[in-house]
Structure formats: C-alpha cells, structure tokens
C-alpha cells in the first residue's frame, strides 16, 4: 500500500466527485523506482551533520546553536522527504467503472484534477523510451478522449503495455455495455 504503483480494486479508497454506484477499478501511480533520486538525496542529507566541520565551522561542540541547528536540520530533512513522498502518493490516475480521473499536485501550490467518462476514450497509446525506461520497463500511457484535444497523460508507469491493455479492455467493455462500438486500439505492440 505504501509503495504500490498499481492497485487493483482498492477497498478503502475514494476521490472527490465520486458518483453513487461508481467503483474504482484501478489506481495507478508513477513507478516507485522513480523516487530513487530523492531517497538517495535524503540519505545524503541525513549524514551531513556527521561531517559537522563543514556545517558548523568553528562553533564549539555541544553549544546550544549546534544542537538547535542539528535538530532543525533533521526536521527539514523529514519535511523534505515527507513532501516528496506525498507528491508521489497523491499524483494518481484512477480508472473507475464510469470515469478516468487524473489527480495532479505540483509543489505546494498547484492542484489539478481532470476527468472524462470512460465511454469518451477513443485511443490508448503506450510508450517506453530511454535506458531507464527500457531497464525498468517504465513508460507513459496516453489516453485520447473524444473531446477536442483532450488527452490524459499517465507518466512513468510500471509496465505501460499492461496498463494500456487494461484501459483498452475496460473501455471496450464499457462501450459494449452502453451499446457503443467497442473500439479497442492497440498501438506499439
């Protein structure tokens, strides 16, 4: 739950604007491996006070200033890691029985939520690129809706081909249920 990037049929999850009778089928997040850089950076920050000669200069050991700066430093590192984790945890893509929802939080001051009915999805494309993507099988999934120029971009997902297939199958099922033509687009193998 803490590090899952693909969650199927989450039991205790809901989102703002969820309709009555609507059920969340999948929750996708960026691959957890994409957090490796800030996790390593946090570990480096944690050991900085041990190389105290760089941080404190000539301030004597055990002085009030040194203790306060060390405590504040660790509070700052905890705050930094916590915010980075929250940023990963709450940037998600939700596929429900009715809608596709993209929840984005950037930094402290930006929130964006987009949604579209599953019936409106026209085209699903997956892309894996770069050495990092090839090694860890991480890539993007682009979902084109019927609305003009509306595209959902799911970035840095684990196993994007599988996600594309899941979304295309759900769309085909939803369209079949509602008597629409079940177009299932498979690009990039």
């Amino acid at each position: 739950m803490f590090i899952s990037s693909i969650i199927k049929n989450p039991k205790c999850a809901s989102y703002e604007g969820k309709d009555k009778g609507e059920k969340i089928l999948y929750i996708f997040r960026r691959s957890f491996i994409t957090n490796i850089f800030w996790i390593l950076f946090t570990l480096v920050l944690l050991v900085v006070p041990f190389s105290s000669s760089y941080l404190y200069g000539d301030i004597e050991t055990g002085s009030g200033l040194k203790i306060i700066v060390t405590l504040f430093w660790y509070l700052f590192v905890v705050g930094y890691a916590f915010r980075k984790y929250l940023n990963w945890y709450f940037n998600l893509y939700i596929i429900s029985t009715k809608k596709i929802v993209d929840i984005d939080f950037h930094g402290l001051l930006y929130k964006n939520i987009s949604e579209a009915p599953v019936d409106n999805i026209e085209d699903v494309t997956s892309t894996v690129k770069g050495a990092f993507g090839m090694i860890f099988n991480i890539g993007d999934v682009f979902i084109q809706t019927a609305a003009e120029q509306r595209e959902f971009d799911f970035h840095l997902l684990d196993n994007p081909s599988k996600v594309r297939d899941l979304v295309a199958d759900l769309v085909a099922d939803a369209k079949k249920r509602h008597g629409l033509s079940g177009k299932k687009d498979h690009k990039n193998g």
């Binding site: 739950m1 803490f2 989450p10 205790c12 999850a13 809901s14 989102y15 703002e16 301030i59 009030g64 200033l65 203790i67 306060i68 700066v69 405590l71 504040f72 509070l75 700052f76 905890v78 705050g79 916590f82 915010r83 929250l86 945890y89 709450f90 998600l92 929840i103 939080f105 402290l108 001051l109 929130k111 939520i113």
Partner: protein, 75 residues
C-alpha cells in the same frame, strides 16, 4: 586588537543566531503550508493512510514551532 577580534566573532555569532531564527520562522510557514496541502490531498483522494499523513504533517508543524521557540530562548 584581540578585543576587536573577539567582538567581531561575537557579532558574527549573533548574526548567525538571528539568521537561524529567521529561517526557522520561515520554515514554520512552510510546515503550515504542508499541513494545508495534506488536508487538500486527503480530501481529493480519501484513503486509509489519510489520518497518518495528517498526523505526520501536524507533528512536523508542531516540531517546527517547538524548535523555533527553543531557539529563541536558548540562543
């Protein structure tokens, strides 16, 4: 000459202490923003872990206030 050197070091230390307290005060605002953001996030996406995130954000905010208060008294 030695007295001038001593007062310069003391002045430098006072300056550092003031800078530390100012940074801590700014950090309190940042910690408050995090608590607000966690509130928004847990409202947008409700999950089991929401309470835990709120508790951590609250503890972080309270911690920043305590450290700043202690700094003001000790330094």
């Amino acid at each position: 000459m030695a007295e001038v050197g001593m007062s310069l070091t003391e002045g430098y230390l006072i300056f550092i202490k003031i800078v530390v307290v100012v940074i801590e005060l700014i950090y309190i605002f940042y910690a408050f923003l995090i608590t607000r953001q966690v509130g928004l996030m847990t409202k947008s996406f409700k999950t089991d872990l929401g309470k835990m995130f709120k508790t951590i954000a609250g503890a972080h905010f309270v911690g920043s206030i305590i450290i700043t208060a202690v700094s003001v008294f000790i330094l």
